[in-house]
């Protein structure tokens, strides 16, 4: 395992606490309890385990910048279009306020962070969707940042790595959100035609318009263990078919066994897997 000691300076403090949907806070601040296995462990142990429960292996959400720090070579990170601000094309009621709130809570300008950097000395273009910002939903700016980064990868002839995490469309941006699917898919297809390697890495959750556009178009599709991946959400499906869905439906492992994922790659093996794949594609 390559050392992950992070010496990259990031614009914000990415070392947020563990996702509180996954763990319960403890009276003593150094401890947390996993909501899945109910076992108590040191926060530090979660952190050392890349925010995966040291007891049961449950994955906690991580921020886009933290993920970048796990895969990129030290000091190679350069953010692309960092200053693109969220927009409100439909002038949707209360949307601006909600955006402000999310910005404050996450320190992000939008749900996508796009960057260039190096993995084992190889230049790469990386897109990370951050599910903490509006559930990583596809807004016009997310679509635009993704498209620009893909175009950058096409122009600079670098491999493209996209970490998807999305609840689907950004409701408040209506049809503009839908159109981003066509825009991003076209950019990926142009990248594809130029001969570039695209590794699509699906993380929890990858659904809706993101699944139905760039996330499903990788040459290599990887997934994080236990991630929810699908087009329609499980609740909508259950309401439609009036049946309970089987356990594990639409999870990474289910998709792998149904032929849509090349490999399930744990967080701890993320960087070395990417490096191996990039090197396998060197002429």
């Amino acid at each position: 395992m390559v050392s992950l000691t992070n010496t990259i300076s990031f614009p914000i403090d990415f070392r947020k606490d563990i996702d509180e949907e996954i763990v319960k806070k403890d009276k003593e601040p150094v401890f947390v309890t996993c909501k899945t296995c109910k076992r108590r462990s040191l926060k530090k142990d979660w952190k050392d385990n890349y925010y995966v429960c040291p007891n049961c292996g449950k994955y906690s959400t991580i921020s886009a910048y933290y993920r970048l720090s796990l895969i990129l070579d030290p000091r190679s990170f350069k953010e692309l279009n960092a200053n693109m601000k969220a927009s409100d094309p439909m002038e949707f009621p209360e949307y601006k306020e909600k955006l402000q709130k999310q910005k404050k809570e996450t320190g992000l300008e939008e749900a996508a962070v796009t960057a260039t950097g190096k993995i084992g000395g190889h230049k790469v273009t990386v897109i990370v969707l951050d599910s903490r910002f509006f559930m990583g939903s596809m807004s016009t700016i997310v679509g635009e940042k993704v498209t620009r980064a893909v175009e950058y990868a096409t122009k600079k002839k670098t491999p493209l790595i996209i970490f998807s995490a999305s609840g689907g469309a950004r409701m408040q941006e209506g049809i503009y959100s839908l159109m981003q699917m066509a825009k991003t898919a076209a950019a990926v297809e142009e990248f594809n035609a130029s001969g570039g390697l695209y590794i699509s890495y699906l993380t929890h959750p990858t659904t809706g318009g993101v699944t139905a556009s760039f996330a499903s178009l990788g040459d290599i599709t990887l997934a994080e263990p236990g991630a929810l991946i699908g087009f329609a959400g499980p609740r909508v499906i259950e309401q439609t078919i009036h049946k309970k869905l089987p356990k594990g439906f639409q999870r990474s492992e289910y998709l792998e066994s149904h032929g849509f994922v090349d490999k399930i790659v744990p967080r701890s093996e993320m960087r070395e897997t990417l490096l191996k794949l990039i090197e396998l594609h060197q002429a």
Partner: protein, 334 residues
């Protein structure tokens, strides 16, 4: 509101039709009588009077109908949603009958299944071979069930792609008709890669060198609509709607209350005029007052003119320009 108006109008339609039938009979009798001699004419005086009476009644009913229909001039977004979903609205099979000749249906994705919610094949438009594809809903409940209410599974999208790839191969323009509540949210659809099927269609449609024109004819919801709708030109029938998802779904996601659909309709900017403003729709095609279901031939005439105009423009472009023109349409949004 529109429901009430249409009910009144349809009742008037029936009355007018009945009276016109009766009058036609009387007219026939009268014409025959006139053909014989003047004596017989006297005998038919009563009939003549009632004929006049009928005609007066008909024109009265017609002006009443006009009055009600004039109420349909400025419809609210949710009223347009109602019309867009009207069971008797013209669907893809009606458009194929009305606008094309020599239709040859192509079935199946040739991989796994035949999805009847997507209908398509080769046909001639103004004599030119084209590939035509659309969501199929059907008009009756039996047809709705058979065609899964126009909600495709991955196999439907893959069939559409198979047909479109052939269009590219044989340099045929592609014309698609969009009318779907969305991609089918079922278990098997997910297992067979609903997201993948839509994604691949979007990617491949961006690459075609042949002109693609899409017509939103009814409701165009979500990726399920866009999967056959990445086009150089997007036309919309006047009362068609196009949106990220159904107003009910929108309300239920945003407010956890699908009953607030009317409010959702107002906010979603889903009407043809809204989308024309947003740059998504290129031309709004007029419908008869009260909706397309009231006069198929008028809809066909208007749509024929619009389709031919756009196709003629696109046919002037080089294949590379056609591809670039389509990509730029979407590249500019956002």
């Amino acid at each position: 509101m529109i429901e009430m108006i249409l009910r009144k109008v349809e009742k008037l339609d029936a009355q007018i039709a009945e009276l016109e039938n009766e009058t036609a009979e009387v007219t026939n009798d009268l014409v025959k009588a006139v053909g014989h001699s003047s004596e017989v004419l006297e005998e038919t005086e009563d009939e003549y009077a009632s004929w006049k009476e009928h005609n007066k009644e008909i024109s009265k009913l017609k002006s009443m109908r006009e009055y009600f229909l004039s109420e349909c001039r400025n419809l609210a977004p949710d009223e347009r949603v109602f019309l867009a979903r009207h069971a008797m609205r013209p669907h893809v099979d009606d458009f194929i009958d009305g606008l094309f000749t020599d239709f040859f249906e192509q079935k199946g994705d040739h991989l796994f299944d035949e999805d009847k919610s997507i209908y398509g094949g080769i046909a001639r438009f103004h004599g030119i071979p084209v590939t035509v594809i659309g969501h199929r809903k059907g008009h009756t409940i039996e047809e709705n069930m058979e065609y899964n209410f126009g909600m495709p599974c991955p196999e439907g999208y893959r069939k559409a792609l198979r047909l479109m790839n052939q269009a590219e191969k044989f340099k045929r323009p592609i014309i698609t008709f969009i009318d779907t509540p969305g991609a089918y949210p079922g278990m098997e659809a997910e297992e067979h890669g609903q997201g993948e099927a839509i994604a691949v269609n979007l990617a491949k449609m961006s690459q075609f060198h042949v002109p693609v024109i899409s017509v939103i004819t009814g409701e165009g919801n979500s990726g399920g609509a866009l999967a056959i709708g990445v086009a150089n030109r997007v036309l919309m029938l006047e009362n068609a709607v196009y949106s990220i998802l159904s107003p009910e779904g929108f309300a239920s996601i945003l407010w956890k209350d699908s009953e607030r659909r009317k409010e959702a309709c107002e906010l979603m900017k889903l009407t043809a005029l809204d989308l024309r403003e947003a740059g998504v729709c290129d031309e709004v095609v007029k419908e008869p007052l009260g909706g397309a279901q009231r006069d198929y031939s008028a809809v066909m005439r208007n749509l024929d003119v619009a389709l031919w105009k756009h196709l003629s423009e696109l046919k002037q472009m080089s294949p590379a320009k056609v591809k670039n023109d389509r990509q730029m349409k979407y590249r500019k949004i956002g």
